[in-house]
Structures are given as structure tokens and as C-alpha cells.
């Protein structure tokens, strides 16, 4: 047989199998090639059945996602404001252009400014206000300087400086009762974006904090300017501010994610880093703010804490502070609440975290929003951890967290084993026969019985979990069981290449494990009360006898009668409950065929 025939037959067999044709049927189309094709197809299917490699770390994936979205946000803004001509020009020197091109543009602009206006004019131009005829020259010189600056930190410093300059110009224009012109607004937008982005790219918290302060200053300016500006200018200013804030929010989220990966956080403007897991709130009065050697310190009781630079101490008195140990052994103030903060209409939520992302949590039914101002005390927040949240309702049913404290978890709960059909999975939350479970930290989730890429919905899963006193259940181990096969349970409970028997999320198809009470004619009766019709198409694996433990997959027909799809005899006589933990047991029925057993948790 020539190789071309085998090659074609192999490909056609693989194609048929991928469409659900059993391998033997696919091979039967090429009887003369079976001996040659079978081992190759076995090989191909085993490769296909391999489980996926280790997942990327969630924190890393989240950090990468934010970088990606930040970059996308930059593209989107540039696309919005760049016409075809600007896009063409950008190829010769925009922010995304190679350094050499930017350098060339910078030199050209600088040379042009010098040639056209002369050194004296250029000197005068750098002091020009937004309404000066030399303002365009000033902006050109700034562009040239920006293009000629190569170091990341220098570029960020320059961008922040230019943003400060724009603020000064804007303040001057507003003080004179004028309206900012389009050149000032255009450059303000560019400087705002550059300042935030370049500061973030340096990874220096002090630069990012400076950008944060400048954005706050810009917000104040926009607010103050509102009454005297016409609609267009006011809208434009607000738009620039929103855009800068959106970029800033992404940057801050990125920093938070990076924080979550480690346990320390740098203090802005200081060489020390604080250990996040030592953060604690101190609110005993009186709290006094003082200056010592030009630096702010806060005295509480007899202890003095230096204030980390960048921490805002609002006038009006401090009611409480959050301190954390620096790596130099000194406790620094990393946040301070004013008296007015503490008098806000706050709410407290205590419970177990069902889901956690870098921006929000779900505790019970309550969504908790986290932002940069949220103070997280004592450790990391993960699904399954007990937390106490102090926050402010946002009017949309959510709570904006001011402080989240991770509580010690004394609740050992009760060990439980549960088996049923997966009807829903959202993030770390699983619904199995109507019962909700949350993946605990370090939970072992075994999906190897699933075909790669398929969802576990409809599959039968066994869960080892802890049932807590608040009614929540934390998964320690969840195994999706392999579907029953003609050859019995696979000796390798993973990566089945056969389609799952139960593929519907509907509870009209379910699985039961119980003991046979009787088999009368076509009616099988089990100890748990299940009665099933055995038809000609029911697959029976083993001999059904009274007292035998069986696993039955059932389908409810349109007439409401349950018929058995397959019956597998597990043991000839019942040895005891399946998945029975030590200790006393209770049983809950939570859905068709579901059994749930609980017992006290073993001591650690």
C-alpha cells in the first residue's frame, strides 16, 4: 500500500472520530489498512486525551490581562483621536514608534524651533502662557525634549512636569476669566495620558503617586472651572479627566494585583517596604498629628508612628490610622481616616468569601467592591476565608469596602462527601444538584474524566467538602467521575475520549447509587425509593441481585417514568455506605439520586 493511501485514510479516520464516529467504525471503512492505522489512531487519541498542562497562575494571568487591557485602552484612545493623516505621521514619530524614529523627530523639531525662532525666542517661548503667540513654539520645544529623553524614569518625570505646567496654564487662564484654547486642551489630554502611563511603566510608586495627586488636582480644577466655561470646553475637560482616571484605575489595579502576588508593598518615596500581613488599625484616642524634622508623625497613646510619604492626612483631625511593619522594623502609617470618614453611614458585613477578584468579592449574597482606598488587614483575601468588611453602601446594592479584615478561621466545620450532577459552575462556585459549593484555597479539582475543553455541566461529580456553621460549603476535593463505559469503569479515570453519557444540565438525566431491593419484571426498585424501568436498550454491566449496590443512570421520559440508561453493579452485596467518612453520619437528599453524608471534622 502506498504511503499516500495510508495518509489519506488516517486523516479521514481521525476526522470521522472527531465527529463522534466510534474508532472501530471509522477503521472498518479501511479493512485492508486496519493493522497499519490502528496503532497510529491509538497514538493520536492518546495525545488528544492528555489533560492540559498546569494552568498559568491566576495572579499572573490577571496582571497580564490588565497590562493587555491598558495597552488596548491606549490604542483605542489613539484611534479615536487620530485621523488618517495623524496615523500616517505617527509612523514617523508617535509614542509607539521606535526610539530612533522618535529621536529623529525630536532633533528635527528642536532644530526647526532653533532655526526658525532663534535661541532667544525659544527661551521666551518656554515662559509663554496658553494665550501667548509663542505658545505653539513652547509646545514644540516640549515635544522635542520628550523625544530626546530616553530613560524611562526621565521620560516619566518630564511627562509629570509637563502635566503640572498644563495645570498652571489652565489655572492662569481660569483666573483671568478666560476659556482654555484647543491647543491647551489637546496638550493637556496628551500630557495626562503620558504622565499616567509613563509613571506606571517605571514601576516606581512615588511617580505613580505623583500622577495620582495630579489627577486629583485636575479634578479640582475641572470642578472649579465648571461655572465659567462654555459647554464644549467643560465637556472636553471632563472627558480628559475621565480618560486619565480610567487609565489610572487600570494602573492601580495592576499594582494591586502585583501586591497580591507578594506580601509586601513599597511605600512611596521611601526605600522601605511594608509587610501587608502586619497591617493593623489603631483607633484609640487621642490621635495627634505632628511634624518632626519636617516629616509628619502620628502619636497614638505613647507611640509615635512616622507617616509614609504619599499618605494623605486630610485637615479636620484623624480618627484612626492603619500601620504596617516596614522591612526596616519600623511601623509606618499607611492610611489615616479623618473624623468625617468615620462618621459616614457605614455598614459591616461578616462572612465567608465565596468569590474573590482583584476588584470585588462576594460574601454571601453581598457584592463587595474593592478599590485603591480599601485597606486590607491581616493577610490575603481568598475564596473560603472569613472576612469582616467595613464599607459604605453605594446605592446599587453593593458595598464599597473601606476596610476588609481577614478573620482567623476557627470554624473547622464538618467533613462531608457529596455526589451529584453538576448543574452550574461560575468561577469558584459549583452547584451540584442544587447545592452550592465554593472551591477552598488549595482545593483539588479533578476534571480529567472530561473530554478536554468540555464543561463539567451535566457530569457526575463527587465532592469532599467542609460544611461550615454558616451553611457554606468549601470544596477540598472535587472529582468529575468518568462516564460508565461498555468495558466497565476505566482503569484510568481521566480524559475519556468517549462523549459523556450525561450531557444535559437538566435533572431529567441523573445518576443514582443505591442497593437493589427488588427486580420484578422490568421494574428495578432501589432502597432509596428509586424505581426504574429496564428496557431493551438499557446497558447492564454485571448481574443484578437483591442487596447488590448498583450505579444507575436514569432518564425521565415524557410520561414521567424513569427509565434506566445503564446499570452497573458495583458490589454484589452492600458493604456499607459509599464515601462514608468516620464518625456519625447524617444524610441529606438534595436532588434526584444525590446522597450527602456529614461527620465532624477530624482534629487538625
Amino acid at each position: 500500500m502506498i504511503e499516500g493511501d495510508v495518509r489519506t485514510a488516517l486523516d479521514e479516520c481521525l476526522e470521522a472520530i472527531s465527529k463522534g464516529v466510534p474508532a472501530d467504525d471509522a477503521l472498518a471503512r479501511y479493512p485492508q489498512l486496519i493493522s497499519e492505522l490502528r496503532p497510529l489512531i491509538e497514538q493520536a487519541l492518546l495525545l488528544r486525551s492528555l489533560g492540559r498542562g498546569p494552568d498559568p497562575r491566576a495572579a499572573r494571568q490577571e496582571a497580564d490581562r490588565i497590562r493587555y487591557l491598558m495597552r488596548a485602552s491606549g490604542f483605542r484612545r489613539r484611534r479615536q483621536k487620530q485621523g488618517a493623516l495623524r496615523r500616517a505621521l505617527r509612523r514617523f514619530g508617535g509614542a509607539g514608534a521606535p526610539k530612533r524614529a522618535r529621536l529623529a523627530q525630536g532633533l528635527a523639531s528642536f532644530a526647526l524651533a532653533l532655526i526658525v525662532f532663534g535661541g532667544l525666542t525659544a527661551w521666551a517661548a518656554v515662559r509663554a502662557g496658553a494665550d501667548s503667540p509663542l505658545y505653539g513654539v513652547k509646545l514644540s520645544i516640549e515635544s522635542a525634549r520628550q523625544s530626546l529623553t530616553t530613560g524611562d524614569e526621565d521620560r516619566a518625570e518630564l511627562a509629570l512636569g509637563y502635566l503640572e505646567t498644563r495645570h498652571r496654564e489652565l489655572r492662569d487662564v481660569l483666573a483671568g476669566g478666560g476659556t482654555p484654547n484647543h491647543r491647551l486642551l489637546g496638550r493637556l489630554e496628551q500630557n495626562t495620558e503620558n504622565a499616567v502611563t509613563l509613571a506606571a511603566e517605571t514601576g516606581r510608586p512615588d511617580l505613580l503617586d505623583r500622577a495620582t495627586t495630579l489627577l486629583s488636582e485636575q479634578a479640582r480644577l475641572v470642578l472649579a472651572a465648571g461655572p465659567q466655561l462654555d459647554g464644549d470646553a467643560a465637556d472636553r475637560l471632563a472627558q480628559i479627566l475621565d480618560s486619565g482616571r480610567a487609565q489610572h484605575d487600570l494602573v492601580r489595579r495592576l499594582m494591586n494585583v502585583d501586591d497580591a502576588v507578594g506580601t509586601t508593598r513599597p511605600i512611596s518615596g521611601s526605600p522601605v517596604e511594608v509587610k501587608l500581613d502586619t497591617a493593623r488599625r489603631i483607633s484609640s484616642s487621642p490621635v495627634a498629628v505632628e511634624e518632626q524634622s519636617g516629616k509628619s508623625v502620628i502619636k497614638v497613646g505613647g507611640t509615635t508612628y512616622p507617616v509614609a510619604s504619599g499618605v494623605q492626612i486630610a485637615p479636620g483631625g484623624v480618627s484612626s490610622i492603619v500601620v504596617a511593619n516596614g522591612q526596616d522594623g519600623i511601623s509606618y502609617v499607611i492610611a489615616a481616616d479623618t473624623a468625617s470618614d468615620s462618621s459616614r453611614d457605614t455598614t459591616r458585613v461578616v462572612g465567608r468569601v465565596a468569590e474573590a477578584t482583584s476588584t470585588d468579592l462576594r460574601v454571601g449574597d453581598q457584592r463587595i467592591l474593592i478599590d485603591n482606598a480599601t485597606i486590607i488587614l491581616k493577610g490575603k483575601i481568598d475564596a473560603g476565608r472569613m472576612v469582616a468588611v467595613q464599607g459604605v453602601p453605594d446605592g446599587a446594592g453593593n458595598v464599597r469596602a473601606v476596610q476588609i479584615e481577614v478573620l482567623p478561621d476557627d470554624d473547622k466545620g464538618a467533613v462531608m462527601t457529596y455526589r451529584g450532577i453538576v448543574t452550574e459552575r461560575q468561577g469558584t462556585r459549583w452547584i451540584i444538584d442544587g447545592v452550592s459549593f465554593t472551591e477552598d484555597r488549595g482545593a483539588e479539582i479533578d476534571l480529567q474524566a472530561l473530554q478536554p475543553g468540555t464543561a463539567p455541566i451535566g457530569a457526575v461529580a463527587q465532592v469532599d467538602a467542609i460544611k461550615h456553621s454558616d451553611g457554606t460549603r468549601s470544596i477540598r476535593r472535587l472529582v468529575v467521575l468518568p462516564p460508565l463505559t461498555a468495558s466497565g469503569v476505566s482503569d484510568r479515570p481521566k480524559a475519556s475520549t468517549a462523549p459523556p453519557v450525561i450531557a444535559s444540565p437538566s435533572l431529567d438525566v441523573w445518576r443514582v447509587e443505591s442497593v437493589v431491593v427488588s427486580l420484578e419484571g422490568p421494574i428495578l426498585t432501589l432502597r432509596n425509593g428509586t424505581r426504574a424501568l429496564i428496557g431493551a436498550d438499557t446497558q447492564v454491566l454485571g448481574r443484578i441481585k437483591a442487596d447488590a449496590r448498583v450505579a444507575v443512570e436514569l432518564r425521565r421520559g415524557a410520561d414521567g417514568v424513569a427509565s434506566a440508561i445503564s446499570i452497573q453493579v458495583l458490589t454484589a452485596a452492600e458493604p456499607g455506605k459509599i464515601s462514608e467518612p468516620a464518625g456519625t453520619t447524617t444524610t441529606e437528599e438534595a436532588g434526584p439520586g444525590a446522597t450527602l453524608t456529614t461527620s465532624p471534622a477530624p482534629s487538625p
Binding site: 467504525d25 498542562g53 490604542f75 488549595g442 473530554q451 476505566s490 468517549a498
Partner: protein, 211 residues
């Protein structure tokens, strides 16, 4: 184990044949939805870009991990690939194969680039696996052995044969997509597939390995 795999293949199906089928990668509706998604991404629609990220980040990571055997390195390169996808998405044009083919083409180029650089500046591998908190020690050990066998088998293949095996059998691309990702014809892909499977079988038999 092979017998079990074959038995499972020939085994139980629902009353009306297989209950779930392999995703119809060539389905018209799916192709239209994908084109719509890409068109939105080309306008830098945040939701569309997020969807692309969520879909492809894990797939690209797996594709790179299987060939590098280093989870951390795979993460670094995946991050690069996703940024390259973002930067180039406005230049993507539909040419008959799914978007995945284009993404994996970028990933492959990044991988080749990495190997080229590393051959110039050899580096010491510090860790060859990335433990996942969801993995128990047994699962980790089993997975590690599996992947060691796979990597051993793949190492005996040519670069193109390896790409065909990884893209087709581990990333579930169809022949047309594999062809586009590699810049080869359909006939060449079929031929590479056949030769690769024969070579893998020989390698595994010779070295006494098993998948």
C-alpha cells in the same frame, strides 16, 4: 490503557448516537460569530478584546508549555504573544481559517524567536514545572510523567511535525487551521501528521515510554 481508550471510544453513546460531539470548528454560525468578535476587537472594543484574551491566554500558554516544559517561561511568552495579538489585530484579515490559526501563528513565531535567542545566549532552567494550587502531589506527579513522555516523543520530531501534533491533537485545530498557522498546504499537513505519528510511535517503543 490503550485498550481502555479504544473501548471507551467504541463504547457508550446516548440513544441517538453520541450525546456530545466535537465542536464544529468549521460551523458557519461559529465562523460568523468569530468574525464579528474580531471586527469588534479591531475597533478596540474592550469586551471583545477581553473575550479574545480569556479564550486564547490559556490555550497559548498550554501550547507553549507543552513545547517548553517551563511554566514560568510559558507565562512570559504567553504575555508577549497576547500583546502581539493586540498590536496586530487591526491587520488581521480572514483567509478561510479560524482566528485561532492566526493567533497560533504568532505564538509559533514567538517560540521560534525564543529558541533562536536562547541558542545564542544559553540559559539555565531553574524550574521545569509550574505547580498549580489545585494539583495534589499525585496528580502533579502523574501529569509530570505524562508530559515528560510527551516531550520526549515530541523531541524526536521535526519542528513542523511537532507543530502539527501540538496544534491538531492538543489544541484541537482542524487541518485547514493548522495549515494556515504553519503556512503550509493541506496535503503537507496530512503528510506531516502521518509521519509525526509514525515517528512518535517509534520513539515511544524504542525508549519504552508510554503516554
Amino acid at each position: 490503557m490503550k485498550a481502555a481508550a479504544m473501548a471507551e471510544l467504541s463504547g457508550v453513546h446516548g440513544e441517538n448516537g453520541p450525546v456530545s460531539e466535537a465542536p464544529a470548528t468549521g460551523g458557519a454560525a461559529q465562523a460568523i460569530a468569530e468574525l464579528d468578535l474580531v471586527a469588534r476587537a479591531q475597533r478596540y472594543d474592550a469586551d471583545a478584546l477581553s473575550e479574545i484574551y480569556e479564550t486564547y491566554y490559556p490555550r497559548v500558554h498550554h501550547y507553549l508549555y507543552i513545547q517548553l516544559g517551563d511554566g514560568f517561561l510559558a507565562e512570559d511568552l504567553t504575555s508577549d504573544v497576547m500583546l502581539q495579538v493586540l498590536e496586530a489585530v487591526d491587520r488581521y484579515r480572514f483567509r478561510g481559517a479560524p482566528f485561532a490559526a492566526w493567533v497560533f501563528r504568532i505564538a509559533r513565531n514567538r517560540l521560534i524567536d525564543h529558541h533562536r535567542r536562547r541558542s545564542r545566549r544559553p540559559q539555565v532552567e531553574l524550574q521545569d514545572t509550574l505547580p498549580s494550587p489545585a494539583d495534589g502531589p499525585y496528580a502533579l506527579a502523574e501529569r509530570s510523567m505524562e508530559y515528560a513522555s510527551v516531550r520526549a516523543a515530541l523531541s524526536g520530531l521535526t519542528e513542523e511535525q511537532r507543530q502539527v501534533i501540538v496544534l491538531k491533537f492538543m489544541e484541537d485545530l482542524d487541518n485547514a487551521s493548522v495549515a494556515q498557522a504553519l503556512g503550509r498546504s493541506l496535503g503537507a499537513v496530512k503528510s506531516l501528521q502521518h509521519r509525526a505519528l509514525v515517528a512518535i510511535r517509534k520513539t515511544l517503543e524504542k525508549d519504552g515510554l508510554r503516554l
